[in-house]
Point group: C2
Chain length 210, copies 2
DNA sequence: CATAAATTCCCCGTTTCAGGGGAGGAGGAG
DNA sequence: CTCCTCCTCCCCTGAAACGGGGAATTTATG
């Protein structure tokens, strides 16, 4: 097996140290460098390249999802292994869609970590158990969630702002009857019976960001 | 300065490795041991003790807040330094109330980390900039938040479940007029005009856990 | 014990929401 | 062109919520 050169993007010094320590014990993995934000990561890859990038999802200046897409556009050969603290299925799904080759959570063991890096380096996909589970959950959630139209989403967000149907109608320059219809559709599609339940459902399912 | 013996409680191997690596370079700090869950942490302290415990807030089997309280009850001499990934002001406040001597986020630099450990070891309190800011924010938030009575909270949660005033009245064995009154108080106290705004406000301010 | 706060309940009226139905026009997909 | 979805608007009725008041009883709290 050939030498795997990796680059770390994470804003937690202690995580960088930890990964570096794990890697040091592996003879066939080499740490080429690291960055603590998206900007300096992109700067590095102007004149350099590596085999694998270990990328945290939460960066101070940019989301890991955006950085992943940009990096993949410019350097399609680099395999990206996403690393995240919490198991939000939506993040796992997004990262894989943006071209990541793997996804692990920060509570993986050293053995799993090394396996993930070598797997991704050889072009294979790697999801640790929790990440795979989270992604399947997310896909299942997306499937059973009804599709809201553009107008319905607009109305939903204005409802969440505390506006009445009449106020929403004025805001969108339509009749109150129209908003009434949209509101009825929302309740029907999401299977709830009143405004409170509507709000709860939408917050729980990420239809409204607070 | 004397030798500081520390113990780490964190369920992320790479964070333990990282902190261990940082500590190794400090001659006057010694890593006595570590645990990856609350249970094995408590087991360790049956027959051992240390100067400082570095404790993650999110543990698989118990919340760091509970573990902090238990540990402080049994070993008041141990100084606890809380370590957390995200800056939830409510966590910072809770941990300090449960007897923690310090709180830092995982994105601290090595220098800040070492300073925090030595500070806490010598009995002083240590909050890194973000943690201090988050706690002040939280305190300020608590102060301006109106106090809800027990009954109002009950009604609030049942409203969030999507129940109507009549259904809530049946559930609590009171008249619908009563629930009407409580609901009016909620709207008045929280300064909102309808159910949607009520839900949004309560979710944003942690009055409702989803 | 006296006072304050919380809980309970009622009146009135108005506004908003919920649920049922129908219907015409715009625009995209096949 | 045709079908279908979306957006628009309307009718109706009943239920629920909002807003303003008042008042009795229990429960903390000083």
């Amino acid at each position: 097996m050939s030498l795997v050169r990796i680059f770390i993007v994470d804003d937690h010094p202690m995580v960088i140290e930890g990964m570096a320590a794990m890697i040091q014990r592996e003879p066939n993995i080499e740490l080429a460098g690291f960055a603590m934000n998206a900007a300096s990561c992109l700067a590095y890859f102007v004149n350099n390249t590596v085999d694998v990038v270990l990328m945290d999802i939460n960066l101070p200046d940019k989301s890991g999802i955006d950085l992943c897409r940009e990096l993949k556009e410019k350097h399609p050969a680099i395999n990206i292994l996403a690393i995240s603290s919490f198991n939000q299925g939506t993040y796992v799904k997004s990262m894989m869609e943006q071209g990541a080759s793997g996804y692990i959570f920060k509570n993986v063991t050293r053995e799993e970590f090394v396996e993930a890096v070598t797997s991704v380096a050889s072009g294979k996909e790697y999801l640790n158990f929790e990440a795979g589970f989270a992604m399947r959950e997310e896909k299942h959630r997306m499937e059973r969630l009804p599709v809201l139209t553009r107008r319905e989403k607009e109305v939903l967000h204005l409802i969440a702002e505390g506006l009445t149907n009449l106020q929403i109608a004025d805001r969108l320059f339509v009749s109150q009857s129209t908003i009434d219809s949209h509101r009825k559709s929302l309740l029907a599609k999401l299977g709830v019976k009143n405004t409170a339940a509507l709000m709860k459902f939408c917050v729980e399912n990420g239809l409204i960001k607070l």
